[in-house]
Each structure stands twice: as structure tokens, then as C-alpha cells.
Symmetry: C2
Subunit: 332 residues, 2 copies
């Protein structure tokens, strides 16, 4: 079934404000989840709303989001999210990064004591919309075995990079595993097999049987996965120990119902400190033209097309929508 | 055959100083190439020395390396390498990034009008050795087709991230393609086939025949290569148009004998602006312990082992050594 974005947005805002969220923050959370859904990031979309509400009800996520800046320099800050809404904390962090990068070449904001922020690209794009380059990373609960190992130690640790252009921003938003955790759940439910080269069983052998999956293979799979593993490893530290959050096996609460120990890192580069911004944007457009002339898309293009197609109605699976609606009806 | 590192180093230094390179700069270039060779990055090692000399002789690379800082803020700079030695320019850029990051949380230095800098990890590690996190990227001549396309437009665009620990730094150093260009040449020479999922022919179909390779597949291969492609795409811009260098098809002279139009980006994060550096390093060591307990290695561990093994003698293929020796004997 297809659902009108404005209705989904309205439902989420209403539930969140009933739970004590500031109207402004409720709008941010609803928008971030809705845009993830519309851009094809279903696992960070409507599906997450019931989880978010449950996390609020269990006291792991506070609807009154107050951040504390614990350390600060002209172009960096360490933010304590005080267990606020992960999406609101992340947006505030990105705003601070943009502000600090405006008068500097680059700024970095680390965040700990926060919650799942949804789709990384949402924040990276904020920078691109203001003529800056946004880089966003976070760590997540263990899902990936280190390359050559068997045990899930690292997260799917996504990275997003958004770059301004004359038209639509380039938005790369990718996990460092070949597939997301959600794909396993989906395959289980539909009794389908997984693609090759995505997962390992408990003994560390490749498997395409979703019931046997114990860990995910890093980007690059069994032959080149040391590359994706390496990326995930450094992201785990940049978003963990660097920012006073946890890393590796101690990252919790991004999926499970418990105190969330993950961290985020927001980096913003101001192209105007390096080059002429208009020239820069025109040149990026030329590179986009080159890949399009070759029959390919720029990073973020397919998501942009999906978002456009979904403006009149977003396709959501019955099961996911019913769970969502149940939460809304219980509350409103 | 195995060759003593100190002899290789001495030969390179002698040739470079004969060509007018400052003794100090000759040492840097020799060390960077030697360490690449010892760490298993053969394509950035001794193999490159004859190419470097040829590039100097053709006037594309100046032995008197003078950099100009064209733009500067407290924590960023744009450097014109003035066609100096790529390795010397890169080292100077990284030193400036470290200096600027010391009193700030993060610094970024862009470089254009420079030459091939060898192994990215060499510079990232410089930061880690001084208790900072180093991030180094560059773009290279087109080798990868955009995901879904056929034509080489993007480079193998490597990224390196080095992180300080109590013992040895973590050093990720990876191209954004599954395999390097060098692997194709090697397979051709040895009349062997390539691994699956690494390359495309002129029609955009997968091939394992090195003679038919027209483009390299991005990290992630034919199924998940949109991820590696996305990484390569953003690196191409960060090291190209952002820093007044070229991007995409206009990147030249990293392999071929012509004016080099690539660019580099050096980012340094100062962990002390976010957390306690000793605590940070201990925690990273714990994560390393966790992956080692699982039978895996941390990023850079295998390279470190190779470097140690090569201290008494570096294995170099006859053909590569002979070409190297010819250059040395012609000059000295």
C-alpha cells in the first residue's frame, strides 16, 4: 500500500509531541525518518518509529533533548547528547559543525551519550545544501566479523559524504558491509536465500542461508573484505573512543532496547576556504555529466529519483505500516 | 632476489642528489619508496623510482621542491606544489596539517600542482606517530568505470587512515577498487587469469582475462560496487575540484609521462581536543586485542609484519631490480 507522506509526518509529529517532545524537535525526527523511507532507506524509516517510541517509553531516549558541549575549540566540539533523541542531537551537532566550518576550512563535532540517528545522509546533505561538504559517520552494534575472524565485533558503520552542486547535492550514504542487517531479516521472513558473499555462519564459513548467518562480511566480501573491514575499523574508533563513546563489542542499544553507547562524528569542509564555490559546483556538475553520459548515476541519484516518485505516496509493507499505525493509535 | 634496504636507500639518495635534490628531500623520497616496498606496496615502491627519474628528466617533476601556500586559515591551507617532488610536497603538507591540528580539533590541507606521492599510508602514519589521527586521500588517473557504466572515469583513489595506539599505529591504506592496476600488468606478464569480480571489458562485461580489461570494478564488485564507486567519486572531488586540481577524466600524469594534474587532501584530527589521549590509545589497543583474539589482524598489521621481515633484505623481482639498477648506474 502507498501512504501519503504528509499523513505519516503528521502521525509521527502528533505522537512525539504527546510524549513531550518540543514541536520543533518532533518535526525534525518525523522529517528524518520520512525522508529515509522516501529515499529507499526503509530500515531507517517508518520501521524505526515504533522502536523509537518504545525506547522513549523505556526511558532510554529522552524527548526533551538537551545537549551539553563538554569540550570545544574554534573548530571542534565534543557533545554529550544527554540521552536525547538521536536525530535531534545529530541535527544540532551538524548545525554546529556547519557554523564552525564557515569561518574555518574544516570543523569536527563528536557526539556521545546519544541514540540512533537514522539515515547518515540526512545530516551530510544539510551541509551540502549550505555550500559545504558534509561527512557523517557513526558506529553501530557489532554485526561484522573482522576480516579473517568469525565473531561480530564491528558495526555496519556507515559513512555519508555530501557535496554541493549547482543542481542536486551528491550524497553518498553507505554501510561498510556488503548488505545491511535488515536484508537478513527480510530474507528470513520471505524464506529466500541471500546473495553470495555477504555473510558468514558461526564457524566463519560463507553462507547464503539467512537462518545460519552469524556475522556479515565487510564491503569487498571474502576476497577483498579487508578493505571494508579496515574502513569499518577506523570508523568504529572515530565514532567510538575518539568521542568518548564505546567501540566494538561495547556498542549497544542501536537496535536492542538498552542504553545506547554508540557515537557519531560530523565533519564539515568549507570549499570556499580552498577554491571558488561557484567554480567548484560547476566542475562537480561536469563530473556528474561525465558519469551520466556513460550510462551511470552519481551517488545519491537513485535515492533522489525514489524520493521524487514517493512524493505522492510512499509504498510501505503492510506489516510495517500496521505496527506503525498501532503505535499511533495507542497514543493519539 | 633479496636486497638490503640500506643499499636501495643509498642508491636512491645518490641519484636524487645528483639530479639536484636537496639531501634532506632525497632522504624523504627514498624512505617513502623504500617503506612502500617493505610494507608490500610494490607498485608504490622501487618500481616507481625509474618512473620518477624519467619524470624529473622530462621536466614534469622538479627536484628543487618549493611549495606555495595560496590560501590559508587557522586550520586549513591550499598548497601549490609548484611541480615539485610529489613525496616531498605531501610530507610538507602533512607536517602543516599536524601543526595546525595541534591547537585545533581538526585541520585540512589541500594540494595541487604536485606529483604522485607514493603510498598514502606513509603520511597518515606521520600523524599517528605524533598522537594524531591522519587521513590522506588522493585521486589518480581514470581506471574505474562508474558503477553501471563502461568507461574508466574515476581513479583507484586511495584513502589511508592512521590511528595512534600504545604500540604500533593502526594504518588502513586502501584503494577504492577491488584490485590495483598493477595486478593486471602482473597477470598479463605471467599469463594468468584475474580473480573474479575485479574488471570489465570494453563492452562493460565482467572479465578475468587481463588482456581484455578496459576498466576496474570498484570495491564491492558487480553486486555492491556502487559503494566503492561512491567512495571513489567523492574522493575524486575532495582531491580534485576542491583543491584546484583536476577530477575524473582530466586527472593525468600519475602513471603516464605528462604534467601531473592530480590532487591530495590531508586531514588531521587531534584526539586531545576530544578525549584523553592516553585513555584513547589504551582503548584502541583493547579493540585490537579483541580482533586479534578472534584470529584476525588490525588494519596495517600485515604490512607491519612484512616490514619487519624485510629489514634484512627486501625481495624484489629481477625485472624490477634490473630496471632500477640501470637507472642508478646511468647516473652515478
Amino acid at each position: 500500500m502507498r501512504y501519503k507522506p504528509e499523513n505519516l509526518r503528521h502521525d509521527m509529529e502528533e505522537v512525539l509531541t504527546k510524549l513531550g517532545t518540543l514541536e520543533e524537535d518532533a518535526k525534525v525526527v518525523s522529517e528524518a525518518l520520512l525522508r529515509a523511507e522516501m529515499r529507499g532507506f526503509g530500515s531507517h524509516g517508518i520501521l524505526r518509529f515504533p522502536k523509537l517510541i518504545s525506547s522513549i517509553e523505556h526511558g532510554f531516549q529522552k524527548t526533551k533533548t538537551r545537549i551539553t558541549i563538554e569540550r570545544e575549540t574554534t573548530n571542534s566540539a565534543l557533545i554529550n547528547g544527554n540521552s536525547g533523541l538521536g536525530i535531534v542531537v545529530a541535527k544540532k551537532a551538524m548545525e554546529l559543525a556547519i557554523e564552525k566550518a564557515r569561518s574555518n576550512g574544516i570543523a569536527a563535532i563528536g557526539v556521545h551519550n546519544t541514540n540512533h540517528f537514522g539515515m547518515a545522509g540526512y545530516y551530510a546533505e544539510m551541509a551540502a545544501r549550505r555550500d559545504m561538504i558534509g561527512i557523517v559517520m557513526c558506529n553501530t552494534e557489532p554485526a561484522m566479523a573482522p576480516f579473517g575472524g568469525k565473531t561480530p565485533i564491528l558495526g555496519t558503520n556507515p559513512v555519508s559524504v555530501a557535496i554541493p552542486t549547482k543542481k542536486h547535492p551528491v550524497v553518498l550514504d553507505t554501510a561498510t558491509t556488503n548488505i545491511a542487517k535488515g536484508r537478513i531479516l527480510k530474507a528470513k521472513k520471505e524464506k529466500k536465500l541471500l546473495p553470495e558473499d555477504c555473510a558468514l555462519d558461526r564457524e566463519g564459513n560463507p553462507t547464503i542461508n539467512p537462518e545460519k548467518v552469524f556475522s556479515l562480511l565487510p564491503l569487498g566480501g571474502k576476497n577483498f573484505g579487508y578493505k571494508g573491514y579496515g574502513l569499518s575499523f577506523v570508523i568504529d574508533i572515530l565514532c567510538g573512543h575518539l568521542v568518548n563513546a564505546e567501540s566494538g563489542k561495547d556498542v549497544k542499544g542501536t537496535v536492542t532496547l538498552e542504553k545506547c553507547t554508540k557515537g557519531d562524528l560530523f565533519i564539515v569542509i568549507n570549499p570556499s576556504c580552498f577554491t571558488d564555490i561557484d567554480l567548484f559546483k560547476s566542475k562537480v556538475d561536469r563530473l556528474i555529466q561525465d558519469v551520466e553520459n556513460d550510462g551511470a548515476m552519481f551517488p545519491g541519484e537513485i535515492e533522489e529519483i525514489k524520493e521524487e516518485q514517493n512524493r505522492k505516496g510512499v509504498e510501505i509493507q503492510d506489516e510495517i505500516y500496521n505496527e506503525f499505525k498501532k503505535v499511533v493509535e495507542n497514543m493519539v
